[in-house]
Subunit: 132 residues, 2 copies
């Protein structure tokens, strides 16, 4: 699959590594060159400096042929906006984004884009650990 990841933080970089190892074609975007140091040294995909909310940058990243787009910057609003551009402007089949705010996540999920909240999922995981 052709996969574009926006945001090369800890999660983005790790996800890029996991997908790359499995043979997917991965392009990862970040506005800070420095962020790419988080990528595993054996990463064979493309690291592109630019803003995922900018259509020109997205085209350069190959969004027109992308099978999946993942938005995992630190900012919920950026993730929401980029996910909407990818889904509705470029018709990327699979769009997933991270939303920290659980209330926003529910709202956004109802708009047809998969949104995952690390807060909710992680709190639930801790609860399971305690009660197991």
């Amino acid at each position: 699959m052709n996969i574009i990841i926006m945001g090369c933080g800890r999660v983005g970089a790790r996800l890029a590594g996991l997908l790359d190892i499995e043979g997917h074609s991965v392009t990862i975007l970040d506005i800070e060159t420095y962020s790419f140091h988080r990528l595993p040294s054996e990463f064979a995909g493309t690291a592109l400096v630019g803003d995922g909310m900018d259509e020109e940058v997205l085209k350069k990243a190959g969004i027109e042929k992308a099978d999946a787009f993942v938005a995992v910057t630190e900012a919920d609003n950026h993730n929401i906006m980029a996910a909407q551009i990818a889904r509705h402007l470029f018709s990327v089949p699979k769009v997933v984004c991270r939303i920290y705010d659980p209330l926003r996540r529910e709202l956004f999920s109802s708009l047809g884009i998969e949104a995952l909240s690390p807060t909710t999922t992680f709190a639930q995981m801790l609860k399971d650990k305690i009660e197991q």
Copy 2:
């Protein structure tokens, strides 16, 4: 169960709410009074201002009768230290902590305390979403 949570950030507050609803006796610690605004309004547990690395604070929180201790501050080092105090000094049966750094997590798990890395678990979850 008597459960002490250190750190009333998004995850700590949500976890406190989930456990409280199920009837557990929850005490949540934070060094910032302001953090407690994140707790759900119906939270019936105890919110205590103080540092979970301070033994006196832990005693005040009831650590000697605690069944579980969860460390979810923003700082890996604080979580590790508090988890070790709870486990080894106060013999709390169940100790779980959050560690952002995946490498540290592996090291720490080998010391006998359950450590969960949101980075690793969340990246894996996103990968599953993309590939499903």
